[in-house]
Subunit: 321 residues, 2 copies
């Protein structure tokens, strides 16, 4: 514990190695250490803006992120990028990704890049990503960019944690209908047609424009009175990135004006739910205790088929409601 | 509800359309319908053998599965295959996969193949896969093969649900050290070196043999007094499949002899835990109620930074322990 206290002091003082170490503890540390970190840093955080970037593989998410970081740096903001890959349990790949991503911003002290792979049990990311974002927030970054790699529900969940969520699409790949099916469009505050110099970009933009006009039924959600903005970029040439930065600002002001805390409240609620579910799992899988003993009895009854698993789960949690 | 009762009668009578419909309800139905299905079918199940097949992409899992199905059919057993893809939220891909897999066994009434993609919230598969396996068990299949596509923690979790878990490796791709890192070897009851006619197969086998001899430290677990068997196959030519079938039999007899219910008990326990965590989530995300109101208050306190999220989660669940 005093280890965490020492790291915390160094983190707040801007020590990068302490930051990396705390993130590692958040990612694979034991629940007690995680609890300690979150409890200590939560009062110190709350200043950073969270920007989510998601989209199917091949649309150029990394290029958009990199161009965005360059633009934010030019505006004097300190930026942390958290690249989340829910499908990979291997650190090796994640570290390689870090190095490639870092190159463009190598030697820039105002940029920090970290990859996070899926670890531990199912649902682990839903609790680990907000904790990592909290650490980066407490470390003093102005922007925390959450980039998700892939197309699963986990990506959508991660992207939805942000203050502003950017969904990147590109002509040819993962068209708008597929994106709608995957539920990705629902979380978009800003829609970006990247690689907009390529064939089919106009058609993709028209499709999305049509979906925006039809509103909710097409999978694009209008929330807090905000209709998602639709932009075109060619991220590898930094085209459209100024407009994207402006869109993020605009969305930030719009949610602030419409009762800022709605989104923060929803994020806090979601995080608490995941932590509570994780805590229930820990208690049930943990050392002997009354709840653990009850679980063992119920598992025995399920094996004997005197009770079904659903009813067993209800009996286990009925004291909650 | 009476809808489910009618489907249940048809399922037990061997109706394939009823089976497909119930699986769809399990996969994306609402919690009440799922609860009803599990409660109804659980007393009728418990006869099928669950065989898990996992391994990195490219090792030939599908070929091993297909050859295994042919071998099981030749022995007069009715086989269901549940191909689980935790990374894909899209039904389209899953259905295409179904069709490709079905071809070899087209027209064979004793084979049923179904793909299952990640749906709903994080952790959904941990509850949905055992439910689907239960449905297939109740439908009268002798073997339910759980094939997982990919390399994440979810795959390992799914594979570990089986009575016998087969981990497939191949020379060149995803070597033994990578597999060990990914935690895949830990769940192996049978290790298969597929594509064993290709260069590097001998070296891979030696590596695995060395890891087996060193035991637990290398990521291969010896549990219930069972040391994982190591086999070579060329699945596309059905070479080594008889030996694989024998290994599955052998492992089944070994766990039966060493107090059969250990594994079933562990599986029941894990399932109850996931269902309980899911139920907690449902209650918290559900309509107004005392627990939901408490959550809203706590989320407000987290936004105001008068409490941290970890402590909030503890307050929410402290009545449990």
């Amino acid at each position: 514990m005093s280890d965490v206290a020492a790291l915390e002091a160094r983190l707040v003082a801007g020590d990068r190695r302490a930051l990396a170490r705390i993130l590692t503890l958040v990612e694979d540390g034991d629940p007690d250490v995680q609890r300690d970190i979150v409890a200590r840093l939560h009062p110190k955080a709350g200043r950073a803006r969270l920007v989510g970037i998601t989209g199917s593989p091949g649309v150029g998410k990394s290029s958009v992120t990199s161009a965005l970081v360059t633009g934010l740096r030019a505006r004097g903001r300190r930026v942390a990028v958290l690249a989340v890959d829910p499908s990979s349990p291997l650190t090796g790949g994640a570290l390689l990704g870090d190095r490639i991503r870092m190159q463009a911003h190598h030697g820039d002290d105002g940029v920090f890049v970290r990859s996070m792979a899926a670890r531990g049990h199912l649902g682990g990311l839903a609790a680990a990503v907000p904790a990592a974002a909290l650490v980066l927030d407490a470390a003093g970054f102005d922007d925390v960019v959450l980039e998700t790699v892939g197309v699963g529900q986990s990506e959508v969940d991660v992207a939805a944690m942000a203050d502003t969520t950017i969904v990147v699409l590109a002509p040819g790949l993962g068209d708008s209908v597929q994106a709608a099916k995957a539920g990705i469009l629902e979380v978009a505050d800003v829609l970006v047609v990247n690689k907009s110099d390529q064939p089919g970009a106009g058609r993709l933009e028209s499709e999305l424009r049509g979906m925006l006009e039809l509103g909710h039924v097409t999978g694009i959600a209008v929330t807090d009175g905000w209709t998602p903005l639709l932009l075109r970029t060619v991220a590898v040439r930094a085209e459209g990135i100024d407009e994207l930065l402006e869109a993020i600002e605009l969305h930030g002001r719009a949610i602030a004006a419409s009762g800022a805390s709605g989104r923060e409240h929803a994020r806090a609620r979601r995080w608490i739910v995941e932590l509570a579910a994780g805590r229930l799992r820990d208690v049930l899988n943990g050392p002997d205790g009354p709840l653990r003993r009850r679980l063992e009895d119920l598992a025995g009854a399920v094996v004997d088929r005197t009770i079904d698993p659903m009813t067993a789960a209800e009996r286990l949690t009925d004291r909650l409601s």
